[in-house]
Amino acid sequence: MTLPDGVERRTFDEEERLATRGPTVYGEPTDGEWRAWDARRSKLGATFEKGLDTGLEGDDSVLYLGAASGTTVSHVADFAGPTYAVEFAARPARDLVGVAEDRSRLFPLLKDARKPDTYAHVVEKDLDAIVQDVATRGQARVALENRQFLAGDGRLVAAIKARSEDVTAEPADVFAEVLDELEAGYEILDTERLEPFHDDHLALVARPK
């Protein structure tokens, strides 16, 4: 598998872990200018750990949907180029602003990922990647509605949370349904369950059709 430039496996406390270079955010261990990327706290980190080829190369332009308090997006901004971080809830967005203040190409936006028209005047098109981690029902719809930001050869790297769609259904059934819906606008390149890092989550990589 290929990690993007700027993401490396390094040893922290005798354990090999993913790491990026940037200011620390959540008390993670550091090694010189490198800081550990905790796959248990980050679905994208887990996606790399599981060996999916995300198509991310380093220096990519990224739209990150569901940035929350900025844990993962801080690592993305470390290795990527311009990174637009969309988060809907005010409280985590406050921490996200703090993360953005320490980085030069991270743009925080307090917006609803289900309403791309509210940020299409800020976020540019032809982006290299959309990273999606939104814990709401209708995760496929979010991906489809934000497809307009993606370049023709761009990548959708999403973590689908089964319990956000239907808590009573079998996760496998939920994932099948989400993937089926995604086919309307995306070609699915790869999928992988994120256990043991995250229960009932499916990582997927797709490109626009």
Binding site: A89, R91, V97, S104, D117, V122, A135, F149
Partner: protein, 305 residues
């Protein structure tokens, strides 16, 4: 920001260096589709090059988002408590005055009726003398109070999801506001055990029970929730306990994290289906049908049969 710029780039019509206006455009603007904004900004001579553009964009998004966060967090739980108390006062007073209007109108006018709707009809009559003018004036106050209650409800429906997104989603905005008001604030509600939340608003019945003078109340204001009221009587205790449990969790998430967790909705829904399935009367509730307006009758909601 003016309407003309809606649908355009955030930097359109912006003086370079006007940071406040830039942040406002980022917050309130919109566009139907994205474009290559960095290149467009350079073309429009808004920025010298792409790097300069991103520097300004960074400044604008950080300022805009910080301001939006502060505004959202300033929306405060105590205001919500005032809103719901004011709404209840307006409704109660409107009903009281409507009774007075009905009684008075019955003695003066040909019309008879009752309630706020009747008062509205009276208010619309052309007065014939000074005494009638006073009656009509009183009827008009009833209509005004009722309008105000409605406006307060609309404001609660707008504000509650901002202040307590999970609680508002599970309980509905008005019940969420009532629970916050009864507990004394969102923080207090978050720290309450679920057994307390279950009987908030049924304090009279609860203390009577503690004095040994009555059964323990099954529910307080949460009685107004469809999941309690719409469940068959013999299962309402279970329904109220399950609902209170999830509402408590929702209040804690709202207070400590503020993120919307849709999982709670689903868990509650699943739990309710199981409770209601016990007798197979999934959507019972016809045995008892107060309309959805009041919590008044639920204050003593603990009465056992």
């Amino acid at each position: 920001m003016s309407d003309e710029t809606a649908g355009a780039a955030w930097f359109e019509g912006l003086e370079p260096g006007d940071a406040a206006a830039a942040a406002e455009h980022v917050r309130d603007g919109s566009a139907e589709a994205p474009a290559n904004w960095p290149a467009a900004a350079v073309d429009a001579e808004f920025a010298a090059d792409e790097d300069a553009y991103y520097d300004v964009l960074r400044e604008a998004t950080i300022t805009a988002t910080r301001a939006a966060v502060e505004e959202a967090e300033g929306a405060d739980d105590q205001q919500l408590a005032h809103l719901v108390r004011a709404m209840d006062d307006c409704t109660r007073t409107a009903n009281e005055l409507a009774e007075r209007v009905a009684e008075w109108a019955g003695s003066r006018l040909d019309e008879e009726g009752s309630g706020v709707g009747f008062a509205r009809r009276v208010a619309a009559i052309e007065p014939e003398d000074a005494g009638e003018e006073r009656l009509l004036g009183l009827a008009q106050r009833v209509a005004d109070l009722d309008d105000e209650a409605e406006a307060l409800r609309a404001e609660i429906e707008r504000a509650a999801p901002e202040i307590a997104p999970n609680l508002a989603a599970l309980a509905g905005p008005v019940l969420a506001a009532r629970l916050i008001a009864l507990a004394g604030g969102l923080g207090d509600l978050a720290k309450s055990p679920s057994s307390t939340v279950q009987v908030l608003g049924a304090e009279d019945a609860l203390f009577a029970h503690l004095r040994g003078q009555g059964p323990s109340p099954k529910h307080g204001v949460i009685f107004t929730h469809e999941y309690v009221r719409g469940t068959a009587r013999e299962h309402r205790g279970s329904a109220a306990r399950a609902l209170a449990g999830k509402l408590t969790l929702a209040a804690r998430v709202d207070h400590y994290s503020g993120e919307r967790k849709t999982g709670l909705d689903d868990q509650l829904e699943a739990r309710m289906e199981r409770i209601r399935a016990r007798t197979g009367d999934g959507d019972a509730g016809s045995d008892d049908g107060p309309d959805d307006s009041g919590s008044d009758d639920s204050g003593n909601g603990g009465d056992e049969e």
